[in-house]
Amino acid sequence: MSIRHALLALLSEGPKYGLQLRQEFESRTGEVWPLNVGQVYTTLQRLERDGLIEADDVADVSPQKGFHITQEGAEELAQWLRTPPDYSSPPRDELVIKVLVALELPGVDVHEVVQVHRRYLVELMQQWTRLKEDESRLDLNFALVVDAELFRLDSLIRWLDTADGRLKRAAAGVDAPASQSFPLPKARRRVGAPQ
């Protein structure tokens, strides 16, 4: 999560001071991503160093010291918004690795390992869904964050379900052998790279 760009976005609305930025960041992400004050000021210093923001009064070192975004900062923000995150290569997902390891280890029931993780993920989803139950606390930003987390967890469970079925069919000799290696594409276009 880019705190740097989130702070730039908040400053694009008008000048703000450090504590105010922290409060607004937290409230707009439904308090899901708490920030400590140190992170805010460290990030502000770097943004200032890079010329993306400027302090209203350089002599003032109080917590009320205000910052505003520069033209370069606005351009950086606009560029960042339109640059897709790099999803081009599969992450080294710990869950996937655990299932692959369980498959190879003698004496380990891979279905039991899958179920341990499935249950944990469903419990996490129950927690996030519980946050949606009370619609009075569900402002738009918070709802978007909660939905994103639910879809992320859901995709992991769907993968576990698919893996479970694939392993079961492989054990019954219906599918290709479970240990068959799969080649990854060798050349991948870097996201955001010039065409």
Partner: protein, 240 residues
């Protein structure tokens, strides 16, 4: 208190070499006011569990109790009465009667139970109103969207003070917005005191439940632990 209990329930189809053990030694209880989701892959026995819980099928062995009453001692007519009066069903494909309006679909189970047409329609309209469907009361199923059809089906499932709601993939044919709306309605029915089981393969749906039970090859293999309060969960999130 448990409104529904399945005690050591097994279901076997076929005989000898062709036997299929659809359910094996199921123990499950659902309290009034609570929502239990049953998750499992296709063929895990979810739908069989639901039809047995709803007295649409008899178990091969074991006992099913609804409202403290064992179904083993009920006649065929007794079970039919129990289904009409106490149990509401929601299916993936809605199962509304095409030739009846939304209001008539909802009032039908009450009329079949001997309630006068006038009283049944008053109760049906109240149920439709509770699901924000008053202005759709005279519409026929083919004049309703998928989400509206399922809301009518839920209104029908809860009308007349039914105590047990059984739903089989209730949002399987809906988009995520309508699916969430359906689960909110089912949850609201539970908050009014109904006991409910939703069977699904969909974790987003199951996550609305108080408890999720995992079914595999006809056996309950696992279930979720009680979750902490929303405030405690938020407070426990790792700080970035």
């Amino acid at each position: 208190m448990s409104y529904l209990e399945l005690r050591d329930v097994s279901k076997v189809y076929g005989e000898d070499a062709t036997q299929v053990h659809a359910l094996s030694r199921i123990e499950l209880s659902v309290d009034s006011g609570s929502l239990v989701a049953v998750m499992g892959a296709s063929g895990s026995g979810k739908s069989t569990l639901l039809t047995i819980a709803g007295s649409l099928e008899d178990p091969t062995s074991g006992e099913v109790c609804v409202g403290g009453q064992s179904l083993s001692f009920l006649s065929r007519n007794g079970k039919a009465r129990l289904r009409r009066q106490s149990i509401g069903y929601v299916f993936q494909d809605y199962n509304l009667l095409a030739g009846l309006s939304a209001l008539e679909n909802v009032s039908l189970p009450l009329e079949l139970d001997g309630i006068s047409a006038r009283k049944a329609r008053v109760a049906a309209m109240e149920s439709l109103e509770a699901f924000a469907l008053r202005d759709r009361a005279s519409h026929y199923p083919d004049q309703l969207s998928g989400g509206e059809r399922q809301r009518v089906a839920i209104a029908r499932a809860v009308v007349g003070g039914r105590q047990l709601l059984l739903a089989d993939e209730p949002s399987g044919a809906l988009d995520s917005t309508n699916a969430e709306a359906v689960m909110r309605l089912i949850l609201a029915a539970c908050h009014r005191g109904m006991a409910a089981i939703v069977v699904t393969h969909d974790a987003q749906l199951a996550s609305w439940a108080d408890r999720v039970v995992f079914l595999r090859d006809g056996r309950i293999v696992d279930q979720t632990l009680p979750i902490e309060s929303a405030d405690a969960f938020l407070a426990d999130l790792p700080k970035s």
